[in-house]
Symmetry: C2
Subunit: 380 residues, 2 copies
């Protein structure tokens, strides 16, 4: 590698020469000194060039914002740099020149509108706050995968191109599959279930899903990744809730452990949630909502406002950001969910975080006769 | 959970009652005893029902192959079962009845043709040999991800729907994207590179890719997963080779550690490969091939047969199943690869395993002026 160290690894005492790489974040001249701030993904260092080093001082005269450079030098013995790390260079090499001026201000001091930022997404991601989000995302996934892998869940990779929609609605992206119509999956549900039939018992698929919904809201995404988990031989939906809870905790725990700097940068405080998560069940949910001034007819589904109200209720009563909704009305759910005998409720759950649905799940009906009966009842 | 243990976890002394779940693999009566073999993904147990337990003997009389059952009982104190684990049941409950006869023989004694097996894939996967392949695949990925995560590579999730092809050729699946033409990616190459521009420095994307190639050969797949790695600030292509080598070793090491049973079942011996992997370079490769009786014109690309011959050469000379091919002819490579100054060779590599290409990689040209020049030279 061209570098010997990431900037974040530079600490005194580090004898001998070091080489770092990154982009120029700022250049400033004070008296006989030129200060070059250089950043890589781990941090920022100051490179101090003295006029006495005539060749290098001339060579670095036309350094511009976000030129990519390679700096060879020694750590200053008595650093005076505010950024903490100071390097006295013996060589500065430009690996790639930047356009001047840059299309957006990556420091974020001068705000750009979202569409401009997206046009220049790779430059926008050099802002450490934006890169931090990707780091946190990856760490969350890492924690979840570690939990799943070490608890007997097999990672599988199921097909993305399917012959028919797996959910109601027409929100499917259509593909020309060698002259035949095919679709991008909305969810790997069917393949997950087939792997249960195969006896694989506990699996997960961490893959993309698509919804052709022409909507611009925080609840709509054309392409998104989901951690789709399936497990067999459950007693009832509470076994699923336990896995979801442990999965969420494992992910957040990893973020709290590994992303301290990123969370500080984003000014976000994240705590590992207490377990067990609170559970609200139907039909009591109708009463809770009515007490809060929201009347939803008995047997009807919740709307967005109701989810938010319930989140408020849980926050006040249990001081918790997560909660489960359990035993949804069977009539608003698909035919394959398990109905609780002699009632109108289903073993169907949602996990809500700060008022937003994180997942839907529950126990599936596995008895063939019941499935056939439920398909008929739903008029399918 | 319905079960207290996986069958693989059953070991004497386990006092008290245990509950296991799985499918019936065999039923056999000998004298006053009925032996029910039950299998889950971890192993097989024998459930021994005595005629003296009249109720249970009657209840288990119509058990059929691959009924899913729940067995409650105790481990036999002096097991006589060949399969090792023997259970004296107090209760047997059928969770789901199987069709009789089964559409394929899952033991594999009676072979089914591939298309029939694929029609009944979930049943086919109950054959432990077939399930073992999925376990090995997941373990390989786990080992690779552990290596990447613990070596500073960030897992990213880049878009699958793109506006134009990323490689030559017309092998693209077309999508109707809200009335516009879009495509499934062949490779997340462009997005990976943009993340390098973002300074993220070391990333990987473990996602699906598609090729609309209407071919049936072991080298063609319409949908496949790739571990797409990108890293910045490399000295040259040898830094990439080092990462590939470590990645392959980490994956295989994990398989050797965790999949002993599966490898034994498949009668495969896998060893962690020695490092460094042998490297063959152009133009010497032409001489090696010529010595083996295969003449490829100077400056031309290798064909499938040449790859196989080189694999044979490496196996004989270095006793190694893996090797790199380095410094491909620049003229057969795309414009964005780095040409070695003053030569006709590129910093372009392939990793070959047992004669089959596992990956293509190398150093990309990052200098703007060179890129423009190379685009012109290639007539693009």
């Amino acid at each position: 590698m061209l570098r010997t160290h990431y900037i974040g690894e530079l600490r005194q005492p580090l004898g001998g020469s070091v080489r770092i790489t990154g982009w120029v974040e700022r250049v400033k001249e004070v008296g006989r000194l030129r200060f070059i701030w250089i950043r890589d993904k781990t941090g920022m260092a100051q490179v101090t060039v003295s006029k006495e080093n005539k060749a290098l001082f001339e060579k670095t005269a036309d350094l511009r914002l976000h030129d990519f450079i390679l700096v060879t030098g020694k750590l200053a013995e008595k650093p005076i740099a505010k950024v903490g790390v100071e390097i006295i260079p013996t060589e500065v090499k430009v690996l790639s020149k930047a356009e001047t001026p840059l299309p957006i201000d990556v420091t974020g001091h001068i705000k750009s509108i979202l569409s401009t930022r997206l046009d220049w997404r790779p430059i926008d991601l050099r802002n450490p706050k934006n890169a931090a989000i990707l780091k946190i995302q990856a760490t969350l996934v890492e924690g979840m995968q570690e939990y799943l892998n070490s608890n007997g869940f097999l990672q599988v990779f199921t097909p993305c191109i399917i012959g028919a929609g797996s959910e109601g609605g027409a929100e499917l992206f259509e593909i020309d599959y060698f002259g035949q119509k095919a679709y991008l999956r909305q969810d790997p549900q069917l393949h997950r279930q087939l792997l249960m039939v195969a006896g694989l018992d506990k699996i997960y698929d961490l893959g993309p899903n698509w919804r052709a919904e022409p909507s611009h809201t925080p609840r709509h995404l054309c392409e998104y990744r989901a951690c789709a988990v399936e497990l067999s031989y459950i007693e009832d939906e509470r076994d699923v809730m336990k896995v979801e809870e442990e999965l969420v905790v494992a992910g957040i725990k990893k973020v709290v452990e590994k992303c301290e700097d990123e969370l500080r940068l984003l000014e976000k405080e994240v705590e590992v949630p207490k377990t067990p998560f609170p559970v609200l069940t139907f039909p009591e949910i109708y009463d809770i909502l009515e007490d809060m001034g929201k009347k939803i007819p008995y047997g009807e589904d919740l709307d967005r406002e109701a989810e938010k109200l319930l989140a408020k209720y849980v926050k006040e009563k249990y001081d918790h950001d997560f909660f489960f909704i359990d035993r949804f009305p069977y009539r608003v759910k698909p035919f394959y969910v398990m109905k609780i005998d002699g009632t109108e409720w289903a073993r169907s759950i949602d996990l809500i975080y700060k008022g937003l649905e994180l997942s839907s799940g529950g126990q599936r009906e596995h008895r063939y006769e019941r499935l056939v009966q439920q398909i008929k009842e739903k008029g399918l």
